[in-house]
């Protein structure tokens, strides 16, 4: 990573009702780079995304420690006005549920143009013209006629395109995409990912892509960070991680991919479940489910070490 990082999450600890849900999460994203954040449901991916934007409802969520530096600004120290200036302007965000993420009582033109009016001080008509361009950009045809439509008149894929237009309205330097395709049909998923990929290049922005779909990551990301139970366990350039996973969890995760298995055979799964936050011992959280655990694994927490291939494991592959 030659450039100074655009986003640097440093030793982030987050608690919900006092229970730790993120522990010592650290990663960086360079300008224009795409980082995939993968892991099972409930491992803390979305909490990480919401924490960066400081959108985690508080209470119950609380940033208990660490820093989030965006372009040198510590997001954890900003007041409401400081956050507003960054949200929607320099960081855009899209969410998992396009069906419920748009306000049902305002037109899509209004909802996209609002960011331009608030952040760019545009007049209503200027915002309208720019909004039509944005709709073109995200691939909604005959954009100008679409400005007066309401979310309920559109399909899930179209709504997610509108969400992308909202997130990109002010040409942010960073796009946080939290499972942007999970709620969509398979055919539409590919279109939306292609769109995000194309716009990333066109607008030269960095992307934090949160997903549980390893196939998406392989295709889309420069680097990948794997999360397990609130911690990052491995992080590496995407090609390297898929070629030579070193953490036993990553390895097991890759074995569950359909592409890694012969057709017609039942897909393997990782036995056991993620331990509850209060049931975690002193060692590696994956140790109870790990087939390669050595005595040290349950006794002592491995540190996240190495560069560019970072790893948190005592007995790696």
């Amino acid at each position: 990573m030659a450039d100074a990082p655009l986003l640097s999450v440093e030793h982030l600890d987050v608690t919900m009702r006092g229970i730790p849900v993120l522990e010592d999460v650290s990663f960086q994203i360079a300008p224009g780079e795409t980082l995939g954040l993968v892991g099972e449901s409930g491992c803390g991916k979305s909490v990480t995304a919401l924490s960066i934007m400081r959108l985690l409802p508080n209470p119950p969520g609380k940033i208990a420690g660490g820093r989030i530096l965006f372009d040198g600004i510590d997001m954890t120290a900003l007041d409401a006005a400081g956050l507003r200036a960054i949200r929607g302007d320099r960081i855009g965000m899209i969410f998992q549920e396009p069906m419920t993420s748009l306000n049902p009582v305002y037109t899509i033109g209004d909802q996209i143009g609002e960011s331009l009016i608030v952040h760019r001080g545009m007049s209503g008509s200027a915002a309208k013209a720019e909004t039509a361009k944005l709709l073109d950009l995200v691939g909604i045809p005959s954009a100008r006629n679409q400005l007066g439509r309401y979310p309920h008149e559109m399909s899930g894929g179209q709504r997610q395109r509108v969400m992308i237009a909202i997130a990109l309205a002010c040409r942010p330097k960073l796009l946080i995409a939290d499972e942007p395709t999970t709620a969509l049909d398979v055919t539409v998923q590919a279109q939306i990912l292609d769109l995000i990929g194309r716009l990333r290049v066109e607008l030269g922005m960095a992307v934090l892509l949160i997903t549980h779909d390893l196939g998406v990551v392989a295709e889309f990301c420069d680097r990948v960070a794997v999360m397990y139970a609130g911690r990052i366990v491995e992080e590496a350039p995407a090609a390297e991680l898929f070629r030579r996973p070193r953490h036993r969890y990553t390895e097991a995760l890759l074995h569950t991919m359909p592409a890694a298995n012969p057709p017609g055979r039942k897909l393997p799964s990782i036995s056991g479940t993620v331990p509850a936050p209060l049931d975690r011992g002193d060692g590696c959280i994956f140790a109870p489910r790990c087939g390669f655990a050595v005595p040290r694994c349950t006794a002592e927490l491995p540190p996240l070490e190495g560069a560019p291939h970072r790893l948190r494991c005592w007995n790696p592959a």
Partner: protein, 311 residues
């Protein structure tokens, strides 16, 4: 044919059976009132059988009930509410003369109720279980529970008699203050509770998170993105309360000696002036139906999903 009509025309046509039914109930109930209507019409003046028969014929009471019923419906349809027993004047004119004080009070009460209810409801809903919420909701419960005659008399005693800030009687706008507060306090209690719960639900929606992610101020998030979604239950409550109020706030008008429809209704009942009672009930129910219709129109303006469901 109905299906091809614009939604609103269909709804207007739809109120015809409702009105018909309401008027029929009014007619039916008045048939059940004990006592001879002719005796009531003559106000207890002793009269010969001949006079009674003439009067009976004049009022159409010698006809069979179904003829009376059809005549009644026909008169209602053209707005002829008959003449009052005591004043001998057309009921419609008598009502028209008393609408203004009731309407003023309804609007004044609504204004106080909306301002108080919206402010407190939003303050409570944004921080549920905070101290503002607890204080507001306990006060609201008291406001709804206390009878208006008691609040009214308390206001008269404190602000009218002791402090002498405002007049208690009169037709001026300053005499409207205390009765408006009496009505407004009652309205605000229910309204604040409703806005609070609607706002709590709305603020938890995904689109509110989207609004925050766009960098909007909390004022914009609440006033624009949350309130328009949260406003339909409160609009319904206010609309129906308003409909009741323009029919006259019976108790409050009595307490403040305002010559509105509410006091008129009490007098009409006490003197057994049947055409006047009948006219007031018909007026009130009709106003209720019309306001309901306007409310439905308003829902469509507030929420486009309702609009497209109708299309």
């Amino acid at each position: 044919m109905m299906a091809r009509m614009p939604w609103f025309l269909r709804r207007i046509l739809g109120i015809v059976p409702t009105l018909f039914l309401t008027w029929s109930i009014v007619f039916g109930v008045l048939q059940l009132i004990p006592g001879d209507p002719v005796m009531l019409a003559l106000g207890g003046t002793p009269a010969s059988d001949e006079v009674l028969d003439n009067e009976r014929r004049r009022l159409g009471l010698d006809q069979p009930v179904y003829v009376q019923y059809l005549t009644f419906l026909k008169k209602m349809a053209v707005g002829d509410l008959g003449n009052g027993y005591s004043s001998k004047q057309p009921v419609s004119e008598m009502i028209a003369a008393r609408v203004r004080p009731s309407l003023e009070l309804a609007l004044g009460g609504l204004l106080v109720g909306i301002v108080l209810g919206v402010v407190l409801g939003i303050a409570a809903g944004l921080r549920p279980h905070g101290w503002i919420d607890t204080a507001t909701m306990s006060t609201a419960l008291v406001g709804v529970s206390l009878p208006s005659f008691w609040i009214g008399m308390l206001l008269i005693y404190v602000f009218g008699l002791q402090l002498e800030w405002v007049p208690i009687l009169g037709d001026g706008i300053d005499a409207l203050i205390l009765p408006s507060i009496t009505i407004g306090l009652f309205l605000a209690g229910g309204l604040a509770r409703l806005i609070r719960s609607a706002l709590i639900e709305t603020m938890a929606q995904d689109y509110i998170r989207t609004a925050h992610s766009k960098g909007l101020s909390i004022v914009r998030v609440v006033a624009k993105h949350a309130m328009r979604n949260a406003i339909i239950p409160p609009i319904t409550l206010l609309g129906l309360q308003f409909a009741v109020l323009i029919g006259g706030a019976v108790v409050t008008e009595r307490v403040f000696a305002r010559a509105g429809l509410g006091s008129m209704l009490i007098d009409a009942v006490l003197t057994k002036d049947i055409p006047l009672v009948q006219g007031l009930v018909v007026y009130t129910t009709t106003a209720y139906i019309v306001i309901n219709l306007l409310l439905e129109l308003l829902y469509g303006i507030v929420d486009p999903r309702i609009r497209s469901r109708r299309a």
